[in-house]
Amino acid sequence: MNAIEVRGISQSFLQKEVLNNISFEIQKGEIFGLLGPSGAGKTTLINIIIGQIKPNNGKTFVLGKNSLELSRKDYTQLGLVLDQLGLYERLSCMDNLQLYASLYQLEKSKIEEALKYVQLFDDRKKTVNELSKGMKQRLIIARAIMHHPQVLFLDEPTSGLDPATTLKIHELLLELKKQGTAIFLTTHNMEEASSLCDRVALLNEGHIIECDTPVAICSRYNQLNTVTITTKDHHQYTIQNNKENAKVLFEEMQTENILSIHSSEPTLGSVFISLTGRELI
């Protein structure tokens, strides 16, 4: 059974088409990234998948159940990290989680476990007002994973965070993936998508223009097929990546003269630009 299944979703707001015939599925233990510029419809799609918006066309399924028929019990299998934090600023970290623990009927130990997991246990008595942006982000991740959901939705989880906090959050997500959680992630950060996601879908003007592993997508658009070699004397040259040039590369390696080798395959960002003519902002 797929963790998430999206079949032919189309959605318009005020006659403006936001999503057009979107289809994909996500397996358990998979991190799936939906990439697109701001306003591409990523958040709308999350809202449709979790049953908050009824689509104009198509169906979505979460853990085998139609999103529009999710029961209270089904929702306990979902974790949500959305664009708005939705935290109670005057309450402590503990009290914020306590509310959701009560809603999910969890024991207090689960709150402590989640706070330890995101390394906020020592700050549990601090009010949300006193937390940094990164700490707030980790707190909402704690809130989302506290009840051990099978499917986790993250809408731009590292947007505006410093690299250290971003790395910490990536480690948390990879740990959850190992435990079998299906993770649906929206982002416009290419590096994040490349390093974290098993598969990505590129969303532009309501259409999925590519859907595959980041490596496969980048390789598909590697039209140059070259490698750039930098030697130890800082000389840099580019050769075609083919049989004829293998000897050149071999000789450089034998003489231990290579400082670095870079292949010419494009990044997800440059693929997106080449396909759409616009940047992912």
Binding site: Q52, L70, Y75, D83, G86, Y88, L91, L99, L103, T127
Partner: protein
């Protein structure tokens, strides 16, 4: 509807209100003023319960409206309400949890005012009972504003005229016959008159009918707005 969800919302609201001075002050202000005024101004021409009745009427027509609309406005603005809805808290459970907290908070305030006014026994029950009817009506009005308003600023601009009408009309009607005549259609005016003209044996049915009609009209608007806009 689930009891544990309503309880969780109630407890959240209790903890949050304790740290939210602008909301907390709404609960404390009128009981505190009535204590100060009753104990400091004792003139033979003014009945001993005059200030308690005056401020209890204002309390009924102001506090629940401001509290509920503000709480909902802030939750919408911060996205916490959306998060609750996505955690499958039903809108009715949320409104019940918050309303219950506002009702309990206001009842404590009313009880203090009743003590200050020297109400005891059946008088105390009558005083709290009449004010509770008004509070319930104000809660419907506050909820309508909370549903319509998109954020805290909008909830403030909508709740200020509503609470001014509800709380000041009974006071102004003492000085102007026209205001008294038209204000008679407003529930707070009727509550003021019921409290002023106690004892219980002298009550006529008319004020209760007007309060009930106010309540039904607001409940109707509430249901309509709720179905149309949700939360």
């Amino acid at each position: 509807m689930s009891y544990h969800v309503i309880k969780a919302i109630f407890i959240k609201q209790y903890k949050d209100t304790l740290k939210n001075i602008s909301i907390l002050i709404q609960l404390i202000m009128f009981p505190a003023i009535s204590i100060v005024m009753t104990s400091s101004i004792q003139v033979s021409e003014i009945p001993s319960q005059y200030f308690v009745i005056l401020f209890a009427t204002m309390y009924v027509g102001m506090t629940p409206i401001i509290m509920i609309s503000n709480i909902m406005g802030e939750e919408k603005e911060k996205g916490s309400l959306k998060m609750l809805m996505m955690s499958n808290v039903k809108p009715t459970e949320y409104i019940l949890g918050v309303s219950l907290f506002v009702m309990v908070g206001c009842l404590i305030g009313l009880f203090v005012m009743a003590m200050v006014g020297g109400y005891r026994g059946i008088e105390l029950i009558t005083f709290v009972g009449i004010c509770s009817l008004g509070m319930l009506t104000s809660i419907f009005l506050g909820s309508v504003i909370g549903i319509v308003a998109k954020d805290q600023i909008a909830s403030n601009s909508l709740s200020v005229p509503a609470m001014l009408i509800c709380s000041f009309v009974p006071m102004l009607s003492m000085f102007n016959e026209n205001i008294r005549h038209y204000g008679g259609f407003i529930y707070t005016q009727q509550i003021n008159e019921l409290l002023t003209h106690s004892p219980i044996t002298s009550f006529s049915l008319q004020p209760f009918v007007i309060i009930f009609l106010n309540m039904m009209v607001l409940l109707g608007i509430y249901i309509y707005v709720f179905q149309k806009r949700k939360l």
